[in-house]
Symmetry: C2
Subunit: 132 residues, 2 copies
DNA sequence: CGTTACGATTACGCTCACGTCAACTTCCCT
DNA sequence: AGGGAAGTTGACGTGAGCGTAATCGTAACG
């Protein structure tokens, strides 16, 4: 199998992140690039993980949360308890996100009202100006 | 008018925040408690603002964002230039909020898919266990 | 053989929204 | 007068998620 080892630069270009970020993720044990002498080489597995990391971030998970989720993905069929815990974590996040969305929608509606008010105030100014 | 001036303690108890937080908000010009000698006394206006601040935070806005929005809420009918500027700011914020909501909805959908996958994985575990 | 390019490590910096002392002052209660 | 509660102003600490040099190694190009 062509394991398609990639340099840090290729990774950055592919995923739109900086070298610093990838090194940081390695330090945090989110990625495990192999070494060719000094240099990091990222495996197919690292790429899969990075994809999940970036998605996790969009979900609003912390890197530590993500690390635990990732450890799960790689887990054998044994530790079911871990899987269950992780599942619950995700469900919790989902509810948080939905709540946040609902509040956001409320805020948007309120802001729209404020804007209508502001628009009207502006119109009055313009009318006053036109009447001079 | 009974302006119901409140001490910092009363405010903290009412709103579930710490004194540090209220002082911090004053330093950031989000609140403007009056002084009785050394002590801060929070007005009805401060309470209204604090309510909005906390709501804004739940929406995920920065304190600086909130400060600008609050300035808008309090504006009288006079300074048109200010109003116009603020109006534009609000419109921009609205678009940002709507974009954020859309992203959030996408993330929610993705996460739901993941959960379906996880649920299935869990079901398999249970099935395997039952088959022993 | 020099320079450019890419990569490495070390380590300090930064933003945000406060927490956490420390070292007072002021007021009330006994 | 003594003591405690509640307040004040600094000033430094925290944690996440990297940014940003500074300095060094190595390999290829011309």
């Amino acid at each position: 199998m062509t394991d398609q080892l990639m340099t840090i630069r290729q990774m950055c270009d592919d995923f739109g992140v900086t070298p610093r970020t990838l090194r940081f993720y390695e330090a945090k044990e989110l990625l495990f690039p192999v070494r060719e002498g000094q240099k990091r080489l990222f495996t197919r597995r690292d790429r899969a993980r990075l994809k999940l990391i970036l998605r996790g971030k969009r979900f609003g998970f912390s890197l530590e949360d993500i690390r635990q989720l990732l450890d799960m993905y790689g887990m054998g069929d044994q530790q079911q308890a871990q899987l269950t815990r992780t599942f619950e974590l995700a469900v919790k996040r989902l509810h948080e996100m939905e709540a946040q969305r609902d509040e956001l929608n409320e805020a948007i509606d309120e802001l729209k009202e404020q804007l209508a008010w502001g628009e009207q105030a502006l119109a009055k100014f313009h009318a006053a100006k036109a009447a001079e």
